[in-house]
Structures are given as C-alpha cells and as structure tokens.
C-alpha cells in the first residue's frame, strides 16, 4: 500500500521534473541556435533528410485525403443539392484542419522517430559525451540544426499536403464525378480567405512543427542510453507528439476561428 502511494508520488514528481527539463532544454536550444544558422550546411543537410525524404508520404497521403474528401463531401452535399460547394468544403477542411494536423501526425511518424532514434543512438554510443569532451556543445551541434530543420520543413510540407489535397478533390469532384468546374473553383475562392484561412493554417503548421520536432529532439536527448531506452523513447515521441498536436490544434482552432 505504501509502495503504491510512493510510486504515485514518484510518478508525479518525475513527470513535473521532466516537464521542467523539457522547458529548460527548449530555452537552451533556442539560445544555442546561433550555430544552426552560422553553419547553415548543418541545417540544410537536416532539411534534406527531414523534409525531402518526407515528401513522398506527404504528397501521396494528401492526394488520397483529397480523393476521400471529394467523394464523401459530394455524397453529403448532393443530398442538399449544393454539390457546387464541394470545392469550398475540400479547400476549407484541408487548409484549416486536415493539412496541418495530418501532416504533423505523419511528420511525427516519419521524421520525429528518426530524429529521436538518431540522437538516442548517439547518446547510447557516447558520441554526445565525446562532443562535450571536445568542448563542442551537443545542443548547438546536434539538437539545434535538427530542431530548426523540422520547424522549416513542417509548414512547407503542410502547404504541399493541402495543395495536393485540393488537387485530389478536384480530380474526384470535377474530373470523375462531374461537378461544374467553374463553381468548384469560384465557390472555393469566395469562401477561402487567404489571411484568415490560409494564413492561420500556416501558423498552425509552424506551431505543430515546433512541437513535434522539439518533442522528438527532447525524447532522443533524454532517452536511456540502452537499446531498450532508445526504442521506448521512439515510441514516446510518436505518442506524445500526436497528443500534443491534437491538443494544440483544439486550442489554436478555438483561438483562431471562434470570432464572429
């Protein structure tokens, strides 16, 4: 009984301490980001790895999400005789919600895991310790470039996801089903505002990029330096960043889209 109570207390204290470490490391990474920009090649190499290699999964998923939105949207809208609004429905749901959120979830699975595993294995192989021995800060040399690469890549990937998704909705809605092409685009253009909708979607994806990438970096840096520890850290990356993305999405949506 006492052991049980003690384990609860330990759990709470550990969680709070981890949160504190998370926040401290976040500030530290921001403060030591100079290297990531001074030696831009480090960051560019990471963008190449994080961004370019995620392109295929993002574009293919975007296309299929657009297909499905086109089909489902059409089936629902034609009941009310307003299938012309299909373009609006596809574009708004992609730009506002699905683009940033689904991209962030895929990004956590595709890029977040590899960041965590890489940093975790560096730690397990004592490479990070070796860097510190050589007076090279692992935060500046390893963490910051990966973090900024993720922050840069994520909005770009989300925008591509949305654009490809709109195109997918166009293929299903206009080319296959035969919704009027002019109405498809004009309803979309009337209903989608480029600041309120597109701009807020981009802001969302930047926030998600910060959250997902930093959680991945942190979990790798914080992992137990054992094979088991690295695998657990990788799992935690996916779980916590997905939850963080969904929770943040709710908060951001409430802030952005509730006015008038």
């Amino acid at each position: 009984m006492r052991a049980f109570a003690r384990s609860i207390g330990h759990g709470v204290i550990d969680a709070v301490a981890k949160l504190g470490y998370f926040a401290r490391l976040f500030v530290l990474t921001l403060r030591q980001s100079g290297t990531a920009f001074a030696r831009l090649r480090l960051t560019i190499a990471q963008i190449h790895f994080i961004g370019n290699y995620s392109l295929v999964i993002i574009v293919v998923s975007g296309l299929f999400v657009g297909f499905v939105l086109g089909l489902q949207g059409y089936n629902t809208l034609q009941r009310y005789g307003s299938e012309q609004a299909l373009g609006l429905l596809v574009a708004l749901s992609l730009v506002r919600e699905l683009g940033p959120v689904v991209t962030a979830l895929l990004f956590a699975g595709r890029a977040g895991t590899s960041i965590t595993a890489e940093i975790g294995l560096m730690k397990a192989g004592e490479q990070l310790t070796a860097m510190e021995m050589m007076a090279v800060s692992p935060v500046a040399r390893v963490l910051a470039p990966r973090f900024w690469a993720g922050v840069v890549s994520m909005p770009l990937l989300a925008a591509m996801f949305s654009a490809v998704g709109v195109f997918g909705g166009y293929i299903v809605g206009v080319v296959m089903i035969g919704v009027d092409e002019g109405a498809f685009w004009s309803q979309m253009q009337n209903g989608v505002d480029w600041i309120d909708d597109v701009g807020n979607g981009v802001i969302k994806s930047i926030v998600f990029g910060i959250a997902v990438t930093f959680i991945a970096v942190f979990e790798g840096y914080d992992s137990q330096p054992t094979p088991e520890g690295v695998s657990r850290a990788t799992t935690r990356t996916v779980v916590s960043s997905s939850l963080a993305v969904l929770a943040l999405d709710f908060i951001l949506t409430a802030l952005m889209f509730t006015k008038g």
Partner: protein, 198 residues
C-alpha cells in the same frame, strides 16, 4: 559535389513548399479576386440588411463590380449604413438602386445594383438613394398573414383596398429571379418595410 546536390534538393523542396502556399492563396483563396486595382466608395442606407456581411460581393447584371467593405448603424435614422467599394472601371448613374439579394435559396447575401437613367454618375462618397432591404422571412410571413386577414375583412366592403397584400407575394419571387423593375422597388416593398421596422 555531394554537398551541392543536397543544396539543390533542399532548394527544390523549399521552392515547392512556397509554391504550394502561393497556390493555396491564389487559386483557393481570394487574394486575386479581392484586389480591385482602384476603388471608389459609395454609401447606401438600408432598413434591414439581413445577413449581409463585409466582403460580400456587389453585383450588377450578375457581374461582381465591387465589395461591401463596411457595415455600420446610424442611430439617428435607425438604418444600416453599408459602404461599398466599387471598381473604378465601372461607373453607375446617380439614380442607381441597390437591393440585397440572396444567391440561391440559402446562399450568401450580396448587393445587386440596378442602373437608373440619370446622366450624372455616382462619385466617390456618393450615396445610393433607392434601396431595398433584405427579405426577412419572418417579416414576409407576418406581412402575408396580415394582408390575408385584411383581405378577409375588406372582401366584404371593397376588394381593391389591399395594395400591400398584393405587393407582398411578388416580393417572394423577386430575389432568385431577375428582379422587379426599378419602379416597383421604390413603391411597394420599401415603404412597407419602413412601416414594419419602425
């Protein structure tokens, strides 16, 4: 060499992302359709604007010629003051009339302009004098019921003494169609709405 290749791929990735944002803003958003090169502002007072919102289109003969940029309220006359930004390329006669229409049965509301015959043109800061309010369904129903009741009473005395009752039903058919002639706007529904809202 390998470094250069990485740079190239990353550059292409960044360009693709920026192009996607631009595509969304231009093709899906209203960045282009919103930017009339130059505009002049025209005011119009309405008894009731219904669900008209800022950025609603202003159309004449179905073509977008401007946008609503401001909706205000005048507490002297208790009327809505709507500011329209009109495209400079199009000018309208001074006695142009404006009415609030609905696109489709449940669609968004917009302002329809019907040009008059005056030689003088609407200038910047000008005012559209003849306006027709949005059709509010509840008012329409109450008018209809009211006129039905009046009809029932007047039928026994004089069948021609219910002009308001007769002009209400055309009001229903007006918005989706081409619209009633300008004379009808000034006469019938406008004066009725005035009485109703005050």
């Amino acid at each position: 060499m390998d470094r250069k290749l990485t740079d190239l791929w990353v550059g292409m990735f960044v360009i693709a992302g920026v192009v996607a944002v631009l595509l969304l803003a231009l093709k899906a958003g209203n960045l282009l359709s919103f930017s009339f090169s130059e505009t002049y502002q025209v005011l119009a007072n309405f008894d009731n604007i219904g669900g008209l919102k800022t950025r609603a289109p202003v159309k004449s003969a179905g073509v977008v010629v401007g946008r609503v940029i401001k909706v205000g309220f005048d507490d002297k006359t208790y009327e809505a003051v709507v500011t329209l930004a009109m495209d400079r390329n199009y000018s309208f006669p001074k006695d142009t009339s404006a009415k609030i229409l609905t696109s489709g049965l449940l669609g968004e509301q917009y302002i329809g302009l019907e040009p008059g015959g005056d030689d003088a043109k609407l200038a910047d800061g000008g005012k559209i004098k003849t306006t027709q309010s949005a059709i509010v369904l509840e008012n329409l129903i109450s008018q209809f019921l009211f006129s039905k009741a009046a009809e029932g009473k007047s039928d026994s005395k004089d069948s021609g003494a219910a002009p308001s009752g007769i002009s209400a039903p055309p009001g229903i058919t007006a918005p989706p169609g081409i619209g009633a002639p300008a004379a009808g706007i000034q006469g019938g529904p406008k004066s009725e709405n005035n009485k109703d809202s005050k």
